[in-house]
């Protein structure tokens, strides 16, 4: 339909007339301004990092090892270590997190003391400072479990009783457990009750129902939880400082009890311990940019997965 000039003019006026700006009371203006400030903070942070880091973000940077006291070269060992670390973490955290969510949703009575205790434990676990997880990883995994393994199986020779990849990833698994539990439970809550009742009505056992109905239908939620956990785990530095991350290693980690380099830790090392800050700065910016892109990409993936899941459940 063709619009007359007058109508076009009217819609133009309407769009830019104060009425369409919504509420213009002082409170609305002030709170809108504060909102704009928050947006501006994000934009400033991202803009600075992208501007500083894009220049030296080359293919060589991503695939080479650091050289000349980490003032040249790339960050491949750190990327490799991060991926290895979060993979191990995922393997540990997904089964436990999903089982806990299943228990809360399908085994525990909602108001039983145990399930309330479990919920308090989960929410408090989410609030424990990350450095405390680092202490815990050192005290429990490295000193207690690791030393225990060495004493039992290696005749006291030091193999597992020292900071290592496996202990860092298990520490991160404990840290990200609440993320997986919450995401999985949310997905399970969205499954229509009819599905589950229908399964029971066919005479299926509880485990069969869970395996054939609950888990397949909450797969996207589990995936979302896993991605969010990975994104969280990839960005945490404090828990791995004493449980396995190393400043610099000439070799890539190949065994579970090797130490490893990690992106976040590399950022920390480059920005605080570098012998020549001026020379390292471009590399530092690029490392930060890579870490940021990695976590944002993972988060965006989680958002897409969640949206698809919601759309499917709404059908």
């Amino acid at each position: 339909m063709a619009t007359s000039g007058l109508e076009r003019k009217r819609s133009f006026v309407r769009r830019f007339s104060p009425r369409s700006w919504g509420d213009l009371s002082p409170l609305a203006v002030v709170s809108g301004f504060l909102t704009a400030c928050v947006v501006a903070m994000l934009v400033l942070i991202l803009w600075n990092i992208v501007r500083g880091g894009i220049g030296s973000l080359t293919w060589e940077f991503l695939t080479a090892s650091p050289r000349d006291g980490m003032t040249k070269g790339g960050i491949f060992p750190a990327i490799f270590g991060t991926v290895f670390l979060v993979l191990l973490m995922t393997v540990a955290v997904i089964p436990v997190g999903v089982a806990t969510a299943i228990y809360l949703r399908h085994y525990a009575r909602p108001d039983s003391r145990l399930s309330r205790l479990l919920r308090v434990a989960v929410s408090n676990l989410a609030g424990v400072p990350s450095i405390v997880f680092g202490l815990f990883g050192l005290g429990f995994f490295v000193q207690f479990v690791g030393r225990g393994i060495d004493n039992l199986f290696n005749g006291g020779e030091l193999a597992y009783g020292q900071p290592a990849l496996i202990w860092a990833s298990l520490t991160l698994a404990v840290l990200t457990l609440p993320v997986v539990i919450v995401a999985t439970e949310e997905a399970m809550r969205a499954i229509p009750n009819e599905y589950i009742e229908a399964s029971y009505a066919l005479g299926a056992t509880r485990w069969q129902t869970i395996r054939r109905v609950v888990i397949p239908n909450s797969m996207t939620g589990i995936l979302t939880g896993g991605i969010l956990a990975v994104s969280r785990g990839a960005g945490e530095v404090a828990p791995i400082m004493f449980t396995g991350a190393a400043y610099f290693l000439p070799h890539l980690p190949s065994k579970l009890n090797d130490q490893f380099m990690e992106l976040g830790y590399h950022v920390y090392v480059l920005s605080t311990q570098s012998p020549d800050v001026e020379q390292t700065l471009p590399l530092l910016y690029s490392t930060v940019l890579v870490l940021l892109l990695l976590t944002f990409a993972l988060n965006a993936l989680a958002v897409v997965a969640r949206m698809r899941f919601r759309a499917r459940m709404a059908r």
């Binding site: 806990t100 450095i131 005290g139 609440p178 239908n217 530095v237 004493f242």
Partner: protein, 327 residues
Amino acid sequence: MTDYRKSDWGQFPIRPGDRRRDVWMGRLISLTALGAIAAIVLIFVFIGREALPVITSPDVHQEVTVSQMVSKLEFRPGKPKMYIWQPVSETPKYSLAPLLLGSFKATLVAILFATPFALGAALYSSEFAPRRIRESIKPVIEMLAGIPSVVMGFFALIILASVLQNLTGWKFRLNATNAGIALGIAVIPIIYTIAEEALRAVPRSYREAAQSLGASSWATVRRVVLPAAAPGIFAGVTLGFGRAIGETMIVLMASGNAAIWSLPLTDSIRTMSVTIAAELGEVVNGSPHYHVLFFIGALLFVLTFFVNLLGEWYVGRLRRRLSGSAG
């Protein structure tokens, strides 16, 4: 959707093995679920185990006692006594006061900085924002929350600190305010998310009732919406506080790391969490210093535990209030 035609549903009635498997899987799942409880208990036990010698072990007491950790210590003979944290020296000094003060200063700045922005944004998106803007605020906040703390620390160390020093001419480039502001930016998403949820949970009928009585939008928010959502706002600020006091990497990189007893917010600080992160790497296992660091960790754990419980309690109160009286 799973295609059930392709699965083995045709095998009903169930076989005896299925019953047995059901029982065992039930046990396995229940046992695994205890993992979360076990984790929190283990954290408590294993940090406590390494922290306890500070209170009980005579070996540790030769170097430091709990009463020394909270009192002023003699720095040099003849000089006035001070609160000093100086664990690596000929006579190690372990006064916790500078660290507690440092944590308090950083957290104070963070909360003072974050609260107006977070509440303003929450208020705007729940009360005033057109739908399209409201829906685009959420991803912004999620992105802000997704920035790893080491990246925020980097930002504060390299960029924010220089900007602040150029603006103000402070003597120390890295100081409590710099760390606090970066910490505050990291805390905004927590406060925003909880406060916004609380504001939106206030029933529409409340607002309509107020407006039909002729209340302006300011009066509606001030007299009706904010009081109704108050516990949720407290919960947000409390949980933000809990996050800020335990946050490590930002403060480690942006605060200057000087464990000194001084009140101005423009001096460098060292917080409890940073002390652990900065010193645990160089410490001898089982030494008094090692145990003191775990003791600080235990303090931090207990502190955040109670702060989070308080936050949860506020959330519960909000829920009771709005479900009890909502029409």
